[in-house]
Amino acid sequence: MEQAIIAIHGLSKTYGSLKAVDNLNLTIRQGEIFGLLGPNGAGKSTTILMLLGLTEPTAGTAHICGLDASRNPIPVKRKVGYMPDNVGFYNELSALENLKYIGRLNGIPENEVENTAREMLISVGLESAIHKKAGTFSRGMKQRLGLADVLIKRPEVIILDEPTLGIDPAGVRDFLELIRQLNQEQGITILLSSHHLHQVQQVCSRVGIFVGGRLLAEGSVETLAANLFQADPHVVQVTLRNAFKASSEELLQLPGVTKVSIADASVEISGQQDITPEIVRYFVHKGCDVTGVQKRTYGLDEIYQRYFENNLKDKEVHNEQSTGLFQRSFLSRFKKR
């Protein structure tokens, strides 16, 4: 097993009566891309700030590369590159000047800083904008410049907070590809905080689901799906020419079927094992015109939704009202998708 590069034990942060981060325990291994998932206000950014030593934890410890982040913030910041969600640059300076400034702050010698900065700009695809003022950059270009800014210090860990916010789909794809390459080719550990589930699923080897300051689950998407959907790991979606009129009770009688969901001409059947042949036979026997059969796997969307639902149920049981309203509205929006 690879060495733990980020080790968080019992980390908490309280603002008055609000618990922004509640007893967080997390280990991120070297060379991983770890996705920190959660809605706005879940405590992701506060956790990141504590990891960088930019805010003092109320309790617990966070170690990066073996260094305590709150006791040794400077050595930690030498090893960690951080790109905030709304990365800012000196608009009146060119991309190169912006990068040279950060390079100097990181102790890059004067005779090397220009070449290193140029190298970084070329590596993130900004070779044509080296001398352009940062103020004229598009959001996507700024994100690329932000990545160059992070890379110039030669980090062991990169923390990206909502890095694809406001970028067009093509830009997102390129950016995620860049992250993946950095991880694979240089072995840099990446902590990616986001609420864009599909993007996280594309690049992250493991994810952590963060809600209301608590880490509800962590692991690979496959592991989380297996744990969550143990009762019905197989899903078959059948599309019919006409609306399905029969009751779901009949389908539930079939061996292995655990759950049925009917929406007009689309029927979704969950089961403990692969029941596709039985399902197709059933519909043919009923005289339905089957136009499509699709086997589905559980993705991060379902995992996230399930954790949210469970968390909401827990909250309702305990009659806890904090952040519940927000989560409900987030969930309702999520369900509409």
Partner: protein
């Protein structure tokens, strides 16, 4: 991306010479200030007032130097800074007025603009101490102010020498340097006050307006307020005996002297006019047996010291508060 592959993680940063993060920030701060329009405008304004004051001084220097009753005639260059025909105030009076504006202009958005641009968190994520940023903001602006004032005064000395050929006395030169130092401390107070406001307020407009409001209060409204209060609690000065009038003026001066503008005015008057031997009113008894001659530099410095230390204390207090606020602040985007 290929160059990223070629780029070695093992490459060591040590070995070659690198500038410390603090001085890197100071250099950027100096460059930013010098290139900013607000500094250019303020510097031009100060240069214009300097030119105007110098023109008036040069036009009146002959008559001033011929005045046999004036005991400061020895100090030609100090005269250049102080004499006037009342058409324009002397240079040090202009500085008393424009200095605060210069300090405010250089510091009002020191921290909050970094926050609103999103560069503050980017800087704080680098291996630099948090206080280095605040120290660099102050040091950078102070360097710019110092260079401006020193250059103007040296221009005056050099220009005076070139035009008149009059030799400058050592004591006179030191007095001018002390005047430059006092002016820098005075502007540093306003600079620190505006940096404090930039730490306190998130919006640059709020910090700028608050700084200007404080400046207006201190410069315009406070003396009026003191006058009204004194009128309310003390008898009419016209009805007072000479002794009581001295006490009345002393009380009035004590009220005014706590303000930075008054401290600066008192300090510069003593430094640039060696004949001045007291900040407050003097009685005839105090003046008895006094030789009507300029004070030595050491004596003038002793008279000025309370003003200098007061200004330094106010500057340090402002800096300490902004330091305390900034170090406790949670930095977010």
């Amino acid at each position: 991306m290929n160059s990223l592959l070629a780029y070695s993680k093992d490459h060591s940063l040590a070995g070659s010479k690198s500038v410390s993060p603090f001085w890197t920030m100071v250099k950027k701060e100096v460059a930013d200030q010098i290139h900013s329009w607000r500094f250019i405008i303020m510097a031009l304004l100060i240069l214009l007032t300097w030119l105007g004051s110098m023109y008036v001084s040069m036009s009146n220097i002959r008559s001033a130097m011929e005045n046999v009753r004036d005991h400061d005639t020895l100090y030609f260059y100090l005269k250049l800074l102080t004499i006037t025909d009342r058409s324009l105030p002397p240079f040090h009076v202009f500085i008393g007025f424009l200095g605060p504006l210069l300090g405010i202009a250089l510091g009002f958005d020191a921290i909050n603009s970094e926050q609103s641009n999103g560069t503050l968190i980017r800087l704080m994520a680098q291996p630099v101490y948090r206080d280095s940023l605040l120290n660099a903001k102050f040091t950078g602006s102070l360097i710019v102010i110092s260079i401006l004032f020193f250059s103007l005064n040296m221009l005056m000395v050099g220009g005076g020498m070139l035009i008149t050929g009059v030799r400058i006395e050592v004591a006179e030169f030191i007095r001018i340097l002390c005047f430059v130092g006092l002016s820098i401390i005075y502007v540093a107070f306003w600079l620190n006050l505006s940096i404090l406001l930039s730490v306190k307020f998130r919006q640059t407009a709020t910090s700028a307006l608050t700084a200007i409001a404080i400046w207006l209060f201190i410069t315009v409204f406070y003396p009026i307020l003191v006058q009204i209060i004194l009128k309310g609690i003390l008898p009419d000065p016209n009805d007072l005996s000479p002794d009581q009038l001295v006490i009345y003026n002393q009380i009035r001066h004590n009220f005014l002297v706590v303000m930075p503008g008054q401290m600066y005015a008192d300090g510069t008057t003593t430094l640039l006019m060696p004949v001045v031997r007291s900040m407050g009113p003097l009685t005839m008894e105090q003046m008895a047996m006094a030789v009507p001659s300029p004070l030595p530099l050491r004596e003038s410095l002793l008279i000025t010291w309370p003003q200098v230390s007061g200004l330094i204390a106010a500057t340090v207090a402002c800096f300490a508060i902004s330091y305390w606020l900034f170090m406790r602040r949670e930095i977010r985007t």
